[in-house]
């Protein structure tokens, strides 16, 4: 099996599973508790159907849309994800270059393994930075200021990780960053020698954006969950969010908003966007899926800020359903991470090409010429 055999999410996932040591694969693949929310995020899209309009002389559809003040060439972008160099030695560089090629946003996590400055040197495409508020406030200011200097276009603050989710697959596999060998995982690293060789022969693994502030994550083998619980500030509140928005002074999203009440509050404090997300089902299991919650959010704050649907997106039709119900754009994490694990930059490009082609084809089949043509009338609930 190789990249050219990868036609969809499941194929990329399969190939990533072959390439990656098990603890690392399961870190991407898993959710919290019983993974009920993880499953629902995708299943939710199947609860409504698309109703096409015919004979609309579609021609070549225009897939461009505007988000965070930037025109992007397709209404789907890369969500911020942590520690990408675990999945491929090129890590964030591969993702950023691939996103640039497709004219869409690449997002960098606070927990990235490549620095803000390094990425701005390798990619001129639109970039968003994802902020975690650490207990050490100096770190927050430092990250915001560096992103400004490095030409990042947008920033998002993640608010659904005040405490780490219960990711039981990580308990079982002993997933830590950097990877630590346990008896159980040893076999899995040994049977994926290419991954291990690449990991050892490329530059040293580190959390490049925070390593100068905290020794955690680079010199000590720490579970991600432990890192979150030790370093992130559970006292974080709306004032802190407002402070970040002001200090940044550009397009700003609150990532992890789910309730209508919170969405309205995001408008009040001056956020330009919200990312409707439950962290890919990795935090509160049993929480509502972004797609299920979208109509209520769109009704309350649509037009007042941009709504990014983040979670469960695996198909072009998922993107079209979300846009029809009022999302400005969609973003995804697992999809491109499996592609990254499957084949580095080439893998992410192959996936983005598939998603691009799917969205284009599905728009034609729906009879929509532009993103604006996607409306509620295209959707019927069962």
């Amino acid at each position: 099996m190789s990249l050219k055999d990868c036609y969809n999410f499941d194929d990329f996932r399969k190939l990533a599973k072959r390439n990656l040591p098990a603890p690392i694969f399961h870190y991407i693949d898993g959710g919290s508790d019983d993974e009920a929310t993880l499953k629902r995020n995708t299943e939710a899209f199947s609860k409504c159907d698309l109703v096409p309009s015919i004979l609309t002389s579609v021609g070549e559809p225009d897939m461009t849309t505007e988000v965070f003040g930037e025109k992007i060439k397709m209404p789907l972008f890369l969500s911020p994800t942590a520690m990408q160099r675990l999945y491929h030695y090129d890590g964030d560089k591969a993702s950023a270059r691939a996103a640039e090629k497709f004219g869409t946003f690449y997002s960098m996590s606070t927990m990235a393994t490549t620095s803000i400055e390094e990425i701005s040197n390798v990619s001129g495409g639109p970039k968003m930075f994802q902020l975690y508020i650490h207990k050490d406030k100096g770190l927050t200011d430092n990250l915001i200021d560096r992103c400004k200097r490095s030409g990042f276009k947008a920033m998002c603050l993640t608010v659904d990780t005040v405490v780490a989710g219960n990711r039981e697959r990580d308990h079982r596999w002993g997933f830590t960053t950097p990877p630590k060998l346990t008896l159980k995982s040893l076999l899995s690293f040994a049977t994926h020698p290419m991954w291990s060789i690449n990991y050892l022969t490329h530059e040293k693994f580190q959390l490049a954006n925070v390593s100068h502030f905290t020794k955690k994550g680079s010199s000590i083998a720490k579970g991600v969950m432990e890192y979150i619980n030790e370093q992130y500030d559970p006292k974080m509140n709306w004032q802190d969010a407002e402070y970040c928005i002001k200090r940044w002074g550009g397009p700003f999203a609150i990532k992890g908003v789910m309730s209508v009440e919170d969405a309205k509050r995001a408008v009040e404090i001056g956020a330009s966007a919200i990312m409707l997300s439950n962290h890919g089902g990795r935090q509160l299991d049993g929480s509502r899926s972004p797609f299920d919650q979208l109509p209520a959010i769109a009704e309350a704050v649509g037009g007042k800020l941009e709504i990014i649907l983040d979670g469960g997106v695996r198909r072009g039709t998922h993107v079209l359903k979300a846009l029809s119900l009022g999302a400005t754009a969609c973003s995804f994490g697992k999809g491109y991470l499996f592609a990254l694990g499957a084949g580095g930059q080439k893998g992410v490009e192959a996936l983005l090409q598939r998603m691009h082609d799917e969205i284009r084809r599905d728009m034609i089949l729906l009879g929509c010429k532009t993103i604006k043509d996607l409306k509620k009338t295209n959707i019927a609930y069962r």
């Binding site: 508790d33 019983d34 009920a36 929310t37 629902r40 609860k47 608010v159 659904d160 005040v162 405490v163 780490a164 989710g165 219960n166 039981e168 308990h171 079982r172 559970p234 006292k235 974080m236 509140n237 709306w238 802190d240 969010a241 609150i254 992890g256 908003v257 789910m258 309730s259 009440e261 919170d262 509050r265 935090q283 509160l284 299991d285 049993g286 929480s287 509502r288 899926s289 299920d292 919650q293 609930y381």
Partner: protein
């Protein structure tokens, strides 16, 4: 597989399965008929979603709740379950001590294998006694007096076991109390020698609340279903419950109330709480799940009595959903029984701690710092 590999309900279940002779495991694990209600009890929680609120500043979470006039550190407690010394030689002693450690309520069954007097001298945290209404009125009176003398805090009359549920796994394995060796169960006892050694060497099997009055269950082997059908009073009615309630004279609950009508009637006869329960799916298969029925019950009587949601709970998020719906507390049997079988007191403590940790995390992720912050605003039903 050891205790440290147990991260959730199903892990404890797996470990219990390894430790127990199969008739005993299946007695815990099984339910009535096709076990439809048993499955639904847990599945019901998946039809409603949590909608969190963010940026609330959630450093400290207070999980305490007050039921039956007692403040518990946790919004869940150990439901009364029968025959605990069959599951681990420490039996009720283990569960009681674990419950005390977490300052939550310990429910003791009429079919307990350790006496109320011993439990009362062992732990000083809130205790509930579960009452089976027997045909033998002398037995009923004697139990009430003993439980009073032992200073229990709550009496709960079980009303859903008027006859034994059809637990087909017990029919197949030949499970009885006390355990009886049959040709088919012989092997399963033989391949779990540790269980057998503990059962034989750790003190005689007893049902201290019953054995002075009836020989069934101790000197005469009987299935639990058969015990219910033959020993309990099928003519029990509201008048009997009311009399028992006034005879007890303290906090009194009916366990196994499912209809709104009955919930209202429980208020009328002087109950201070009800357990919305179908006996863990072990009695009437096809019965509605407690969580599905909870909203109606809370709407009808939630301001008058403590409504406890009991059945199917396996996760902190399940409790969160029940509490958001309006339950005052949650309770469960299998919730701690597999852990008891897996590792005695240490196992139960690990299980209770896991649920506590889950609840605390889930509360933070919901943006809630105390139980009273939870409301139906946090919930959305799927269409």
């Amino acid at each position: 597989m050891g205790l440290k590999d147990c991260h959730n309900f199903s892990d404890f279940r797996k470990l219990a399965k390894r430790k127990l002779p199969s008739p005993i495991f299946h007695y815990i694990d099984g339910a009535a008929d096709d076990e439809v209600t048993y499955k639904r009890n847990t599945e019901a929680f998946n039809e409603v979603d949590l909608v969190p609120n963010v940026l609330r500043g959630v450093e400290q979470v207070d999980l305490s709740t007050t039921i039956f006039g007692k403040k518990l550190d946790l919004p869940f407690y150990c439901s009364p379950t029968a025959l605990q010394r069959l599951f681990h030689y420490q039996g009720e002693r283990a569960v009681g001590k674990a419950a005390q450690k977490f300052n939550t309520m310990f429910g003791v069954s009429s079919l307990a294998t350790v006496s109320v007097e011993e439990i009362s001298s062992m732990i000083d945290t809130p205790k509930l006694f579960q009452f089976y209404y027997h045909k033998d009125k002398g037995l009923n009176n004697a139990i009430v007096e003993r439980v009073k003398a032992a200073k229990f805090d709550v009496m709960a009359l079980t009303v859903d076991t008027i006859t034994g549920g059809n637990r087909e796994r017990d029919l197949r394995t030949g499970f009885t109390s006390p355990p009886k060796l049959t040709l088919s169960s012989l092997i399963s006892f033989a391949i779990k020698p540790m269980w057998g050694i503990n059962y034989v060497t750790r003190g005689k099997f007893e049902l201290p609340h019953l054995q002075d009055h009836v020989k069934e269950g101790t000197s005469t082997a009987t299935s639990v279903g058969n015990y219910f059908s033959t020993m309990l009073d099928q003519s029990m009615n509201w008048k009997d419950a009311e009399n028992l309630c006034s005879k007890w004279g303290g906090h009194f609950a009916l366990k196994g109330v499912m209809s709104v009508e009955d919930a209202k009637r429980a208020v009328d006869i002087g109950c201070t709480g009800i357990m919305v329960s179908n006996h863990g799916g072990r009695q009437l298969d096809g019965a509605r799940s407690p969580f599905d029925q909870l909203a109606e019950i809370v709407d009808a009587v939630g301001d008058k009595v403590d409504v406890i949601c009991e059945g199917g709970i396996q996760r902190g998020t399940h409790m969160l959903k029940a509490l958001s719906m309006g339950a005052k507390a949650c309770a469960g049997g299998r919730l701690y029984l597999y852990a008891l079988a897996a590792a005695g007191q240490e196992g139960v403590e690990r299980a209770l701690n896991q649920y506590r940790v889950e609840l605390e995390r889930d509360m933070k992720l919901m943006g809630c710092t105390k139980i009273s912050d939870l409301s139906r605003k946090n919930l959305r039903f799927r269409k």
